[in-house]
């Protein structure tokens, strides 16, 4: 039981899974002696050896394909992509094979794997290092997409992903990597996949978000609380499959909902949530469903990135508008 950062929690979960299951392997660029560019795999090479912690050549389209072969043979590969900006060559293998192998062989072959990648902006990273493209994966059948919002969530959700029999894309908000410390039991207890977490209860409005944006979302909820407005805050956690039930029952009580995402607005996951509410929860809506999101622009380089990312103030502006409907 100790206070950990997200990157430490990720490392702890990886070590635990490698300890409890011989089949778990870690592959990626610089995951060995360097411990990964964010140090998420630091110490694993020393502890588990070069047969289970494998530094790969610079071949992004290869890794998920390797994992398909390893998974079909009973291993549980964990593939680290150094940044989400370099994961795109792997979409072919995720879409054409990883998410399909079990179905296309009627269960004869399957390929459990965890595809890890740091993602998102706000850390003044170089070009191509700050995008949020989780929605691309959330549309792909046969996989899971999970995004932790805090150290404890990171530990529990990653453990669950590492034990899951199907492919999981696990996206780690690097803005959270070292920004907060949290108690992490570290006792091997996993958190459930496929469901959202209600971080804070409230009757006036439902705020739905995931990953790094929960910081601004919770800050906005605090600001609202001071005005006597009780916002319910939901952490999506598993983006695919999406637990609409939790969101629906919250909005059934609040009647209002604002969805906050860092990714570009159009085609982002916020649309899926709003669509689910507009169908199954419409009768409960007292106000328009609002999305506060990144713009449909190229993610700006660091000098402008803070103007791109939804701020607490922007969130508050929209929440107030949503609350203004009688």
């Amino acid at each position: 039981m100790s206070e950990l950062t997200l990157v430490e929690a990720v490392r702890l979960a990886l070590a635990h899974a490698m300890e409890e299951d011989e089949a778990v392997l870690v592959l990626g660029e610089d995951v060995g002696i360097d411990g990964g560019v964010f140090r998420a795999t630091d110490g694993l090479l020393k502890r588990f050896g070069p047969r289970r912690v494998i530094d790969t050549p610079l071949s992004e389209s290869l890794f998920v394909g390797l994992a398909v072969g390893l998974g079909a043979q009973g291993f549980r590969p964990v593939v680290e992509y150094q940044f989400m900006g370099f994961i795109y060559p792997a979409i072919d293998q995720v879409l054409s094979h990883a998410g399909r192998l079990r179905n296309r062989t009627r269960g004869r072959l399957s390929c459990p794997m965890v595809i890890r990648a740091p993602y998102g902006g706000g850390v003044h990273a170089p070009e191509h290092h700050s995008e949020s493209m989780e929605a691309l994966f959330a549309h792909i059948p046969g996989i899971r997409v999970v995004v932790p919002s805090s150290p404890a969530k990171g530990y529990g959700l990653l453990l669950a992903a590492l034990r899951d029999p199907d492919p999981v894309v696990f996206l780690e908000p690097k803005r959270v990597y070292r920004s907060q410390k949290e108690e992490v039991a570290g006792d091997g207890t996993a958190l459930p996949l496929d469901r959202c977490f209600v971080l804070r209860e409230g009757r006036d409005v439902t705020l739905v978000s995931w990953g790094a944006m929960l910081a601004e979302t919770l800050a906005a909820a605090d600001a609202l609380a001071e005005e006597g407005i009780a916002a319910e805050v939901i952490d999506l956690a598993t983006l695919k499959p999406l637990d609409m039930e939790t969101i629906l029952s919250s909005v059934e009580r609040t009647g209002r909902c604002v969805i906050i995402q860092e990714a570009p607005l159009s085609g982002g996951l916020g649309g899926e949530i709003a669509a689910g509410l507009a169908d199954r929860g419409l009768v409960n809506l007292l106000a328009p469903l609002r999305r506060v999101a990144g713009y449909d622009t190229v993610m700006p380089l660091p000098r402008l990135e803070q103007h791109y990312m939804p701020s607490e103030q922007r969130i508050l502006r929209h929440v107030r508008q949503v609350l203004s409907y009688a």
């Binding site: 389209s61 390797l66 072969g69 390893l70 998974g71 079909a72 179905n103 004869r108 029999p165």
Partner: protein
């Protein structure tokens, strides 16, 4: 300027186009029965292909890729493998798949549009047919890494075409396999065409075998119409891989005598004259000539084989045609190990079917 590295690409062939031995044959080929079995497997493959094409032409099968003229490649590598090895095929290795225990009924189910065709009752660890060209190469590297990590004396054999050698992921897979000295063998079925693109328009490389040099592993050519040579060369490559000597690439030179698939019309882009020329290289006729000359094969045996192969194929086709489709709900059955609750509503929606 001083030379720091040099390489060469070899070519192997035992029987010429007339079926004459060019020299001593490898040991296995001294036993007539072995050669007869190779011959029978090639004939069965060709018979199966003809039937599949006929089924497609009569609307009872989907698009199908025949291996006409390339039987020596798939049969040669299929017999060079051990049962416990793992095959990662493209979509033209039915010859090898049948040898490994994939039933012709399963193959027809696959091309007929039924996922159960990839649920092989026989070789449970073999990969299914791979349509996205070259994308099975990374899987082969992954399988080989698994075999190496477990210290098993097994080999992953990956097959793809000449066109696939232009795919970056095939290069990445070979580069990784060589780096890790994985127990893998990559076989290129160089049938000279990628649909309408001839071999010469695919790459400026003099040979496809030399693609191995970039990966840092051995590469060699073999006469892909000489099943003895294919079995021998691929067999040696598999043996090296099994002993831990690392992967290699084998380019089998053959020719696609058929259209690319039943959806293709090759007359649009190549001369019939070229095709008739290439018929003279037919791997089946070649081995038959050798066997008859050597007195190991008679007209009567030939007729019996044709009849027997036809029967087997017909039986498989009937079994295929008699297989009803899966229920629609099957699309949710193996999507995940356990269907997530979030998808239950969709399964229910599907169950409602077309009731308006």
């Amino acid at each position: 300027m001083s030379d720091v590295a040099s390489f060469s690409i070899g070519h192997t062939r035992f029987l010429d186009a007339e079926g004459k031995a060019l020299g001593a044959l490898p040991d296995f080929a001294r036993h007539p029965q072995v050669l007869i079995d190779l011959y029978r497997a090639m004939v069965l493959t060709r018979t199966f292909d003809a039937k599949a094409v006929a089924l497609q032409r009569t609307g009872r099968l989907g698009t199908f890729a025949s291996s006409l003229g390339q039987e020596a490649v798939s049969v040669g590598l299929g017999t060079a493998m051990r049962r416990e090895d793992v095959l990662l095929p493209s979509f033209r290795e039915q010859g090898a798949q049948i040898l490994r225990g994939v039933t012709m009924t399963e193959l027809l189910l696959y091309w007929g549009g039924d996922e159960r065709g990839s649920d092989f009752a026989g070789p449970r660890e073999d990969f299914p047919i791979c349509v996205p060209v070259g994308t099975q190469a990374p899987h082969a590297a992954g399988v080989a890494l698994a075999l190496q990590l477990r210290g098993e004396a097994r080999v992953a054999v990956c097959v793809f075409g000449d066109g696939a050698t232009s795919r970056g992921d095939v290069y990445e897979a070979m580069n990784f396999a060589a780096l890790m000295r994985l127990p893998a063998v990559f076989v290129v079925n160089n049938n000279q065409w990628a649909i309408s693109v001839p071999r010469a328009r695919q790459t400026a490389a003099e040979t496809l075998a030399q693609k191995a040099i970039a990966a840092g592993m051995p590469g060699q050519q073999v006469d892909g119409n000489d099943v003895i040579a294919v079995r021998h060369v691929v067999g040696e490559a598999i043996a090296r891989a099994r002993e831990g000597a690392g992967p290699s690439l084998v380019e089998a030179l053959t020719y696609r005598l058929s259209d690319h698939t039943t959806a293709d019309d090759a007359s649009r882009y190549r001369d019939d004259a070229e095709v008739s020329q290439r018929w003279k290289e037919d791997p089946i006729a070649r081995l038959r000539r050798y066997l008859s000359e050597a007195g190991h094969w008679s007209k009567a045996e030939e007729e019996a084989l044709i009849a027997e192969s036809g029967k087997q194929v017909e039986a498989a086709a009937e079994a295929y045609l008699a297989t009803p489709p899966m229920p629609p709900e099957a699309m949710f059955e193996h999507l995940y190990a356990k269907l997530p609750a979030a998808l239950e509503r969709q399964r229910a929606e599907l169950a409602e079917g077309d009731t308006p």
